[in-house]
Every structure is written in C-alpha cells, then in structure tokens.
C-alpha cells in the first residue's frame, strides 16, 4: 500500500476471537466456534473443554451465518456498547444455529421487524472509529427474502 493514497479504514473486532471480518465485499461474517472431536457437539464461543462430554480435544470451526429466531425483545433504554447512548432503542434476540448453539445478540431493525421463528443472518455493525480503526460488533438481521 503506497503512503500517498489514504488507506481504507481497517476494521477490528470489539473483542478478538468471536467472529470473522470478511475481506471480500459481500462475503458474510462467521462466528468462531468449536466442535468436540469426541462427541461432535458444537459451541459458540470457542471452548477448551467440551461442555457435553468434558473431552479436551476440540477443533476450531466457523458457524453461521444463518439461523432461526428463538426469542427477541426490543429495548427502549438507550444503552448500546460503550458510546451509543444516542440510540432510541435496539432489538436483542436469541438465534438458533443449525449446528446447535443458541446465540444471543443485538438485532438490526425496528421494533416491529421481528417474529419468533423467522430466518436471521449475521452482519457486522460499526460501533465507532478508534485510532484510525473501525471497531466492529456482530449482530443478526432478518433475512431479506423472508420479510417479503
């Protein structure tokens, strides 16, 4: 990268080790999970010890990006991340991944956009820019064709 052209803003996760930030435009983010080598159970986030059979041999895998909405709410108290006191509200939900884990996350959309059982997909949201880097968090949004 030449020093004369302004570099594209680098995206970093709010915490490392939970999700991928795809380089290719349009590629979905994935969740970083584990699969037990002994019993095959899947986990999010990653684990060292299998919570089902207690084996200590697990492999890193990527989970998602799609799942089914198990439950949700819409929070009217303005608190989101460390510097998001300006938002009016936000959705929170639990999404069942086909591999087994139920993932709790912020939802993208308005108070009337969700229903239990709908298809959801992972996306990234920019929380803020810090030292020239864009701090990203994962969230789920309703799958578009499901809404039509």
């Amino acid at each position: 990268m030449s020093e004369s052209a302004p570099p594209p803003q680098r995206q970093i996760p709010i915490e490392p080790g939970f999700f991928t930030i795809p380089r290719a435009a349009g590629a979905p983010p994935r969740l970083l999970g584990s699969r037990c080598d002994n019993c095959g159970e899947h986990f999010f986030p990653r684990r060292v010890v299998c919570a089902r059979c207690l084996a200590q041999s697990l492999s890193d895998i990527e989970l998602g990006p799609r799942g089914t909405l198990y439950t949700y709410t819409y929070v009217h108290v303005p608190l989101f991340g460390s510097r998001r006191s300006n938002v009016e509200g936000y959705g929170v939900g639990q999404v069942d991944l086909p591999e087994g884990p139920r993932v709790q996350a912020v939802l993208s959309g308005g108070p009337g956009d969700f229903r239990i059982g709908m298809a959801m997909e992972l996306e990234l949201e920019s929380l803020r820019v810090k030292d020239g880097e864009e701090v990203m968090i994962f969230r789920f949004k309703p799958v578009q064709e499901d809404r039509a």
Partner: protein, 385 residues
C-alpha cells in the same frame, strides 16, 4: 447435604431504599446489631460469620465485622450476584448443621446506587466486550416473549404479578416502595416500556440496604428465647448451570430457567417435603415475568398453568400460596448483597406470626429462592416448630 439441627435465632434489616447520608458500614452495623439483639447474643457468642456483598473494596468483610467487636472469629466473604445473601445464609446453615459452629452469622449489605453511579453494576466483563450491550431487563424480556409465544401469556399477567407485589410492599415497613394507593394492572402497563413486554413498574428498583440472620442449634434457640416459636432451616440447596444442547454461553445473565426446578427438587428431597407443604414463597422477581415461571418450576402448579394462578389471585396474600409477601424484589427492593437475607427476615417474621397486616394465616413452612448472575440458583426451606 441434608441439614439437621439448625434454627434461625435472630433477624434484622434496614429498610431498603436510597441511603445517601449513610455508608455501607453504617447500614451493615445497624442490621447486624438488630439481628444480634433479636437473637440475644453479642459477638463473643458467634463462632463464624459469612459476609455477603457484590461491590466493595478488598478487606471489607473483616472491616465491617469489627464494628461488632474484635473476638478473633473467622470471617468469610461470599459473592454470588443477586443470590449473595441467600448463599451466605446457606454457608452459615451448613456450618451449624455440621457442628463446625454453634452460632453463625450471615450478613449482607450493598449500596447499589453507588455501584450504578460508578458504572460497576453489570456483567463484570468490562464495558467494551461483545456481550456488554445487553441489559438484564432485555434478558428476562427474552424469557417473557418466548413464554407469550408458547403459552399465549399476556402482558396483563405480568402486570398483575407486579401490581400484587407493589401492593404487598405497601404492607411492609421494610419495603422500598410503599405505594399510597392500590396499584392497578393498568397503571403497571402504562409505565414506561423498558424491554418489550416489560415496563418500568414490572422491574425492581436500584437499592441500598443491609440484612442479617443469626443461626444456631434449636437447643440454643430455646435457651435464648424461651417461649418464642423456633424457626428451623430444613434445607438450603445451591446449584449452578447444567449443560444441554442449545445452551447460550455468551450474553445471558441468568439461565437456563430449569436451574430453579433442579435446585428446588434437591431442597424438597433433602427436607422430605414438597410444594404442597409450603405456605408462602419468596422468589427472584427482579422482573415480574420471572415469578410466573417459578410458580411452575417450584412445583406450585403444572407447566403451562402459571397464568391460571395469576388469574385466580392464588399467589396474593389470602390466596392458596402467597408469593413475595414482603413485596419481593419489585417493591421490597433488591440491593444485591442483602436481598436473600431480607427474604429470610420475611420468612422468619411470617413463621413467628409477627407479620401484622401481611401475615399469612397459620404459616408454618416457607420457601426462599434466588437466582444469581453467572449463574446460580439457591433455595432454602424454613419451618416453624
């Protein structure tokens, strides 16, 4: 482990609320001295203490205990989030039952208003983390929305539970919230929405407070307080989460809800009694929808019949099985550290027959349940005689 030969010989608390002018040590000293007077003991009679608080400097437990005297007794710090006070109680009960102590103290205190002001309340994982964004209210709202989907529960059911607990609190001089009028379902529903379907009046307040219980063998109880009914501790169980496929590791404050069924099952088995033997129950109603789940998980009705109990008023004072007779977390308040010991205070007051306007007729056996973030569930069973 089965409990044997343990009684609560003294209780004390300060009214929960905002105590701006008093330090947490002031609150703890007052609750402890009331409990010791109620028991008829001084510090030299107490063999060991369990001190419960969530937010405090290192060394705070022995420093607080010095307010009562300096006798060399062992002092332990207990922290288990919302369940802290009831977990401290469990430790004291098992210490007496095992013979390690003859007299034990469980003391809990907190200034939650200061925790909130310093931004220290919450998950303990720092604010800049993947799961710092989700409020406790949101998590319990997720339970509520799922229940509404599965059972057809209405926001009116949750509001009726909240109104009941507000109205119970008005009868309790130790309650933070003492409404000057009968709180209605409509009023609860009309209060500001926090997290759909939970409104502000369905949630517990932010409180300061302190509470204390003194435990000993029933023989000591009879010697110190001849003629007063002896309140025994039949069981005190504590469990943490059990894994099942679909477990949500990141985000939830408390869960899964089935912890309450497992923990209560253990307590009932150890005590040799069941839900039919219980005359009143105090539970973790930080949010009103939790209480309907606990009706079922504690065995007071079949799964899916919690709404019927609400509609029948069965869990109000005067009903079949009164819940949260002191107002619960919603009205009595929920400072954190002392909450479980306020439940013990209420059970002992009821089982002695000293609860005045909110007395449950012929109350003989009571249950206290709390969940605590992380998470844990604890259930204690107390019985007169």
């Amino acid at each position: 482990m089965k409990l044997d030969n343990v009684a609560v010989i003294g209780v004390g608390m300060v009214r929960f609320g905002t105590h701006r002018e008093r330090t947490v040590i002031d609150l703890a000293r007052e609750a402890g001295l009331i409990a010791m007077r109620d028991a008829g003991v001084v510090l030299s009679d107490i063999d060991e203490s369990w001190v419960g608080f969530m937010d405090g400097a290192p060394m705070l437990a022995p420093r607080v205990m010095k307010e009562f005297g300096l006798t060399g007794l062992p002092v332990n710090h207990v922290e288990s989030a919302s369940a802290t006070g009831l977990v401290a109680f469990r430790e004291a009960a098992h210490a007496v039952s095992s013979g390690r102590c003859q007299v034990a103290m469980a003391l809990g205190f907190e200034k939650m208003t200061e925790m909130i002001a310093r931004g220290r309340a919450g998950r303990g994982v720092g604010r800049d983390s993947v799961d710092s964004v989700i409020l406790p209210a949101a998590y319990f709202a997720l339970w509520a929305m799922r229940r509404m989907h599965e059972r057809g529960t209405k926001p009116e059911h949750f509001a009726a539970i909240a109104a009941k607990n507000w109205n119970h609190g008005a009868l309790n001089p130790y309650a933070d919230r003492q409404a000057d009028h009968t709180v209605t379902v409509a009023e609860v529903l009309a209060s500001p929405m926090i997290a759909v379907p939970l409104t502000a009046m369905m949630a517990c307040p932010v409180d300061d407070g302190a509470a204390c219980a003194i435990l000993a063998t029933p023989e000591i109880a009879a010697r110190l307080q001849p003629g007063r009914p002896v309140v025994r501790v039949l069981a005190s169980a504590l469990q943490s989460e059990r894994y099942a496929t679909g477990h949500t590791f990141l985000g939830p404050v408390v869960g899964p809800a089935t912890m309450t069924r497992d923990t209560a099952g253990q307590a009932y088995e150890e005590a040799g009694i069941g839900p039919d033997d219980i005359d009143l129950a105090l539970v973790h109603d930080a949010f009103a929808n939790e209480e309907i789940e606990y009706y079922e998980l504690l065995g007071f009705c079949r799964e899916g019949e919690g709404e019927k109990l609400v509609e029948q008023g069965a869990t109000s004072l005067g009903g079949r099985i009164p819940f949260n007779t002191d107002g619960g977390l919603i009205a009595r308040g929920h400072p954190g550290g002392p909450t479980g010991l306020a439940q013990i205070h209420e059970l002992v007051t009821q089982l002695r027959g000293d609860a005045g306007a909110r007395q449950v007729a012929n109350a003989r056996t009571g249950l206290a349940q709390l969940v605590g973030g992380g998470s844990v569930c604890t259930v204690s069973l107390l019985q007169r005689g």
